[in-house]
Amino acid sequence: MSSDRYSFLSVLREALRGQTGWKPAWRKATPQDSYDVVIVGGGGHGLATAYYLARRYGIRRVAVVEKSWLGNGNIGRNTTIVRSNYLLAGNVPFYECSMKLWEGLEQDINYNAMVSQRGVLNLFHNDGQRNAYTRRGNAMRLHGVDAQLLDASAVRRKLPFLDFDNARFPIQGGLLQQRGGTVRHDAVAWGYARAADRLGVDIIENCEVTGMRITDGRVEGVETTRGFIGAKKVGLACAGNSSRVAALAGLRLPIESHVLQAFVTEGLKPFIDCVVTFGAGHFYISQSDKGGLVFGGDIDGYNSYAQRGNMPVVEDVCEGGMALMPRIGRIRLLRQWGGLMDMSMDGSPIIDRTPVDQLYLNAGWCYGGFKATPASGLCFAHLLARDEPHPVATAYRLDRFARGAVIDEKGMGAQPNLH
């Protein structure tokens, strides 16, 4: 007998027999001739889309094609933060939908992704920032999302080791979303893959899309390194590679691909119990369950497909870190890495049809795609299944740029590197 359902009992049973009864987390599927839906991109969003298509919309003839190993994209190289602390009406319901899906994810997919709602605290350092966070916190509350405004002394009680007394930009307070937190990123990919696989979805790794077969303006399938795969509908969930794949269908997108670096330190006994973002520099941080400090800052700021960044950003981020928490000076950075961000022109995503019939797009996640994973999957599945936007994703239309209905949280305009 093999152990397929994960539980404490199955773990115990396997412990007694040398862990020999586990089945592969997902089948190594080979492509069939055609599917109802082919999802391009075996990252978090693509796998979640496949899962919800099968689970919620009953569409099970689904393939996820991935050019390399599953989860090789941003799902495998982010800083694991989940939150729904947005300002604009186009965004809040969507991210809150995502947060609710996170809250029930593990039971839903029978996989412990370690959803840890330890809180996300955005610090502010001047009146202007306080006012902006007040506006945002109130927007969240009006949308039914939890938010609290902490003053400096409340922040100090929570994180006494921040620099309160010698700071260039003293901490005045922070906006706390207690329900925000972190999730073990790789586990999200594996968990969705396993759950989708069990519902019959084919997950096809090492299968790169090299072309789109389009006849009379309608997509009929994808050419891949493993042959042609027919599809009634094709959904693109390629994050940083969105423009490349869309170009195969002759589309230009309001997206630039940028590199975002992230960093982890050596493991330490835990002392940071929430996610903290510094408001006076480019720095945010949390501590993983293994003890490593996971932190990051701004994107490198230039178009890149290289999955690696440069040193000025490392220095800038560490400078921010020292300004915020000077006790980390002797803690060592262990590893830095880079992911490709599909930076959209207004900093918000796109989940929409494209000008090519039956070709659908899920892109423009900037550096915030991880937290969106469940809702992105659900809304994209909804769009693919029903051909209309999910109610929480109605703002994420491709034509919003032409209409001017941009969703620009930061107010930086059509400059992806500034979002």
Binding site: R244, N303, A402
Partner: protein
């Protein structure tokens, strides 16, 4: 990454500010709205050679057009933007 400023010689990327695709051309005022949407929002975003604007903010304040491979960060050429727009 280091960029060869035609005036200041090669400098670290931290001295420069980025501003995306340098192949887009500002339409005339009476151009159709679609042309403006293209100009302001749509990008080829290629994986490979890319002509892009950089501003030598900490140096001579020149806007440059840098041709660079977005896969490797290798820089092929640098010209001043005025040189490019006048050409």
């Amino acid at each position: 990454m280091r960029i060869h400023c035609p005036y200041c010689c090669t400098r670290g990327v931290e001295e420069f500010t980025y501003r995306g695709d340098a192949t887009v051309r500002r339409p005339d005022l009476d151009a159709p709205e679609a042309a403006w949407v293209d100009y302001v929002y749509l990008r080829d975003n290629p994986a490979g050679p890319h002509a892009e604007y950089w501003y030598h903010a900490a140096g001579c304040h020149s806007w440059l057009v840098v041709r660079r491979d977005t896969r490797t960060h290798e820089i092929f050429s640098v010209q001043t933007a005025s040189e490019v727009s006048e050409a």
